[in-house]
């Protein structure tokens, strides 16, 4: 298996409703990544694109073929990945496998979404399609409702008074808002830096006990990365970011995960694969972009990834252990909560952040000092798809 490096990254601003089409958004992110890689579109051997709801958002299927043609990657294989919110991470992981195998030496992977363009009603309906359509949706399940139920289950399982847990969860949102407020590509850039526990708890209720500020926004945006084999990477850049470990896992309906809930077993399986492949442990990770679609999701993720013991992540956030300067810097980008969550692009946005953090290129206020090993964690559905990847400096 060949070593594989990220040699260039690109991203649009994550935002509310965009006027640009998905093809246009993806093309902009892709060209930024290709240009940063010192490559031309003709050098790309294949293109893997995460896109979840383009059919609903703008009546566009098969966006990957049109995107490839748009940027001049002519007649290359172009594949679309759909694993709900983990789609782009699936695309990047598969690109990694193809480059590692030696079949392709340069692959462009990423994702695009216009979830904000759909509006809250249609977005809520279509996001609920990642729960079981026959056995869960009839009860009116929504995505916030899944994590709302996990919140109550978490409080009951670890015997944490709900009010205390909600205050800990508010700390997660406050930290994410603070980092996103200084990230120019974030949806909430320049906003919400002064968020307080009281404001989080007092904002309007989405699904008890989750308020608006416990929930990530609907977002439009795109992100892309270029992966290359080690020998190609060394010719292109002095700062290749190697993908040293990956894992992926799947699960069925939420109820069928009951032996483990509120833990997400698929994440434990996936992250363990990534740690073993990379030969590192949770304590070796300097920063992690993890899937904070809801504040409680950060606690659940950080525990399953092995950063904190089960039931203790809320306290860790309160003490700053999940922040820059703590045990592991979680979501210095602002995360899904503040950077935004254009679902088909989210995983590629996480990789964009990790690569730039390892290269020491982000805004000083949110740069993790001397970051050497980074990790991504992307969740699709309520555990239906889980992807983890570990990245290390190649210099």
């Amino acid at each position: 298996m060949k070593k594989v490096a990220v040699v260039g990254v690109g991203e649009t601003k994550f935002s509310g409703p965009q006027e640009k089409t998905e093809v246009e958004l993806f093309a902009e992110a892709a060209m930024e990544a290709i240009t940063e890689s010192n490559l031309k579109p003709k050098d790309i051997k294949a293109l893997f694109v995460g896109n979840v709801l383009g059919d609903f958002a703008e009546g566009q299927g098969m966006v990957q073929a049109f995107a490839a043609e748009n940027i001049g990657c002519l007649y290359v294989p172009a594949n679309r990945y759909e694993g709900a919110c983990a789609s782009a991470s699936m695309a990047i992981r598969d690109a990694f496998i193809w480059v590692a195998s030696g079949y392709y030496d340069i692959v462009l992977a990423g994702g695009v979404e216009r979830a904000a363009t759909m509006g809250t009603g249609l977005a809520t309906r279509t996001f609920a399609m990642f729960s079981d359509a026959r056995y869960e949706y009839p009860a009116g399940i929504t995505f916030p409702a899944v994590f709302a139920m996990l919140t109550h289950l978490y409080a009951d399982t670890y015997k944490i008074p709900l009010q205390k847990l909600r205050e800990q969860m508010a700390r997660v949102s406050i930290q994410s808002y603070r980092h996103g407020s200084v990230n120019p590509r974030a949806q909430f850039y320049g906003k919400n830096a002064d968020m307080s526990v009281e404001k989080v708890l007092g904002s309007f209720m989405v699904a008890t006990p989750l308020t608006l500020h416990d929930c990530c926004p609907f977002s439009d945006g795109a992100a892309a990365v270029v992966l290359a084999s080690e020998e190609v990477a060394k010719k292109l850049t002095s700062q290749p970011v190697y993908i040293t470990g990956t894992g992926q896992s799947s699960s069925g309906p939420l109820g069928n995960q009951s032996d483990y809930l509120p833990r997400i077993r698929a994440r434990e399986v996936s992250s363990q694969q990534a740690y073993e492949m990379a030969g590192v442990r949770p304590e070796d990770i300097d920063l992690c972009e993890l899937h904070d679609c809801f504040s409680i999701a950060s606690l659940i993720a950080a525990e399953s990834l092995g950063f904190f013991d089960y039931g203790t992540a809320g306290g860790a956030w309160e003490k700053g252990e999940a922040d820059i300067g703590g045990k592991v810097a979680v979501n210095p980008s602002g995360g899904l909560k503040s950077k935004g969550h254009p679902i088909g692009a989210t995983g590629a946005g996480q990789v964009y952040e990790i690569a730039r953090q390892l290269r020491g290129e982000v805004e000083p206020e949110r740069q993790v000092p001397d970051a050497r090993i980074g990790m991504t964690d992307t969740l699709g559905g309520d555990g239906g798809t889980l992807v983890n990847m570990i990245f290390e400096r190649g210099w």
Binding site: T124, A145, T151
Partner: protein, 137 residues
């Protein structure tokens, strides 16, 4: 290989307030909702059984922001119930004021009825779901 129990038949039974599951002939575990193989041991040797539908609430939420087409339903309470037979199942809770649902619901015993979701343009038809109500304590 054909399924022993498919959604259509599960749904028709639920509309009669009958909760059908599958009992594994190898390990004895109950699988619900129906699948091709046992949720515990992946054996396909399963027989249809009627479950009682009673159990206890493990978690819940009250939804205030609805999906397109279901705006008239909010607020409503969703529960995950651990059936006496083991598996967890998702349904709604009736007989309470949804806006007052609290942690005191966790652990409460419930019995099952059903309610029809009439479907929307995406759902390929209607589906019944369990509608639980609290047992008097």
């Amino acid at each position: 290989m054909e399924h022993k129990l498919i959604f259509k038949d599960y749904n028709e039974a639920l509309k009669q307030n009958k909760l059908l599951g599958l009992k594994c002939q190898s390990c004895g575990a109950i699988t619900i909702p129906p699948k091709m193989v046992c949720r515990q041991c992946a054996s396909s040797d399963m027989e249809i059984v009627e479950l009682k539908g009673s159990g206890k609430i493990r978690t819940f939420t009250t939804v205030f922001v609805a999906s397109e087409g279901r705006e008239d339903e909010v607020p409503y309470t969703i529960v995950m119930v651990e059936l006496e037979d083991g598996p967890w199942i998702m349904g709604n809770l009736e007989g309470i004021d949804p806006s007052t649902a609290s942690m005191e619901l966790v652990g409460r015993k419930v019995k099952m009825g059903h309610k029809i979701f009439h479907g929307d343009r995406y759902s390929a038809g209607e589906s019944a779901r369990p509608l639980f109500s609290l047992e008097q304590e």
